[in-house]
Symmetry: C2
Subunit: 318 residues, 2 copies
Amino acid sequence: MKLILAIDVGGTFTKLGLVSIEGEIISGRLFKTGARQPFNEFKKKLSEEIEQLRTTTTKTYTIQGVGIGAPNANYKTGEMINPPNFSWGQRVPVKKMVQQLLNFPVYMTNDANAAALGELYFGAGKNMKNFVVLTLGTGLGSGIINEGRLIYGQHGMAGELGHVNVFSEGRQCNCGLKGCLETYASVTGIKRTVYELFADSNAESLLRSVSYEDLTGKNISEAANEGDIIALKAFEYTAQILGGKMADTVAHLEPEAFILTGGLSQAGDLFLKPLKKYMEAALFNTYKNKVEIVLSKSTSTEAVLGPAALALVGLKLK
Amino acid sequence: MKLILAIDVGGTFTKLGLVSIEGEIISGRLFKTGARQPFNEFKKKLSEEIEQLRTTTTKTYTIQGVGIGAPNANYKTGEMINPPNFSWGQRVPVKKMVQQLLNFPVYMTNDANAAALGELYFGAGKNMKNFVVLTLGTGLGSGIINEGRLIYGQHGMAGELGHVNVFSEGRQCNCGLKGCLETYASVTGIKRTVYELFADSNAESLLRSVSYEDLTGKNISEAANEGDIIALKAFEYTAQILGGKMADTVAHLEPEAFILTGGLSQAGDLFLKPLKKYMEAALFNTYKNKVEIVLSKSTSTEAVLGPAALALVGLKLK
C-alpha cells in the first residue's frame, strides 16, 4: 500500500498521519510542538514520534513521500520564515531537517495553503476548481486554488489575506502593520471587537464578566445564541469587515466559493448569514449571486490531509 | 507566413492588426468604433475594415485565428457584458459575430486581460511569470498573470481591480457601488481628486481656470511638473490610495511586478515615486522590496498585440 507521511506543525500541537492516496488516514499521532523550546528539541521529538507511528501500523506499506504544513512556511525555500509564536529562529529549515531524518521526497508549504489542497482533493472543494480557503483561528490564514492549482506567487508566499488592509490607521497587527484584516476577522479579532463594544456601548452583556484572556470564540458564539446584544453586534461587525474584503478577493480571482475553517467559522449561521449579506452588498455587479460561502467539513485530526495532498501533488500522484 | 488577425475594440477607436507569431505588426488599421451607434453598424464597418486590411498587405500569409480584446468582454461566453459607454445591449455577442464574418478560430477576452497577455509575450513582462497589469485610463482595468498564465476565474471575469473598495462610503462609481478604486486611481479619479482639493484648500492652482470637462490627465501632469501644489497633492493622494491597494493585491498573488499603462502612468516618476513609497509602506513584511513597479513600453498602435497574444495562446502557438 502506498502512503504519504503527513506532518501538520501547529503552534500548540503537531499532528502526524500516514495517509493513503485516496485520503484515508491509516494511522495518526499527536504531540506537543514545544514552539517555545529550541528547534532541536522538536527535531528529536518528531523523530521519535515518526518512529512510533511507523511501527504501530500493522499493514504493509511503502512511504512515497512526506508533506509538511507549518505556519509561515515557504514552499520554495522549505523554511518557516519569521514564525510569530515560535522560538525557532527567523528562518527555520524544517524541510531540510525532515529530509535528513527520512530518505524520501519532502514537500512543505504554509498551513493554510496545505489546507486549501486538502479541501481540493479530500474536502469541501472536491468538486471545485476555483476557491479560497480562509482559516479563521487565532489569526487569518488563506490558500488560493485557481484552475485546480495552488497559487504560490513569485517567491512562494502568495495568499496572506490576513494582512490586507481594512483601515489605514486601524488596529495594531503582530506583523508591524496597522489595520490588517486578521486583527478584525479571526477569533482574536472578534475578541478585540467585543472589548471595543464594551468601551463604546452601555449595553449589558454576559461577556462583561469574562476577562480578555479568558474570553474564547466559543463564549462569544454561546452568548450570541442567547441573544446577547454585544456578542451579536460583534458577529455583525466582523461579518461586515470580512464580507467587504471577500468581495475584494472576488474582484481579484473570481472564485466559485470561499471555504471557511477555524474557530470563528464554527459559529455557523450566526456568522455565515451576515457574512453572505455583506459580501453580496460589496460585490461588483458581474459577481453577484455567483460566489458561495461554505464551511469546511474537515475535523482537527484531518489537518494532516492538507500536507498529504501537497506531497501527492508534488509526487504527481494527484 | 502565419498571422493572427487581432482586434482591439475601444470606446472610441477600434484597432485592427495582422500580427506575426513573433509579435510583429505586419499591417494595421484604425476606425471609429461608434459605441453609441447600433451594434450592426459596427459589424458592417468591422467587416469592411477587415477586408481592407487583408487586401492592403502584399505579403503571402495565412490567418491562423482571430484575437479580440474588448471592454467587459468575457472569455468564456464570448460576449461583452453590460459595457458602460456602449449602446450595444447588455450581452453583446462579439465573438459569435466575428466567427460568422470569418471562418477562423476566434478568441476574446477583456481589454486589460488581453493587455496582460501582450505584455507577457511581447512587452515588459517578457521575462516574468507573475505580474499584474494595471491600465490607468478613464477607468482602471487589470489583468493578472500567474505562472505564465492569465487568471480567468470561475466564469471568466477575474481581475476587476478597478472595483475593489477603498472607502465603504466613498465616491460613487459607474458600476453602482461606492468607493471603488477606479474612482480614485484613474485619469477620471485624479480629476475628481483635483476638484476635491479645490474645495478643501485655498491654494492657488494653474488648474482652477480649467473646467471639469476640459481637464485632462496631461493638464494635471504638466501643472505638477511646474510645481503646482494642487496637482502635486493630487498625484500624492492618488499614489497613496493605489499604493495601499497594490499591497493588498500582493497579499493575494505575490507578483514580481506591476506593469502600468494608460494615461495616468504617463506622468512617470511624478507618480511612480510616491506610488512605490506608499506600496512599500503598506506591504506585509515578507513582501517588502521584492515587488517592482514598471511602465509598459507598448504604444497605442501596439494595443493589437494583446488580442494577438490571446489568439496565439488559444491556438497553442505560444
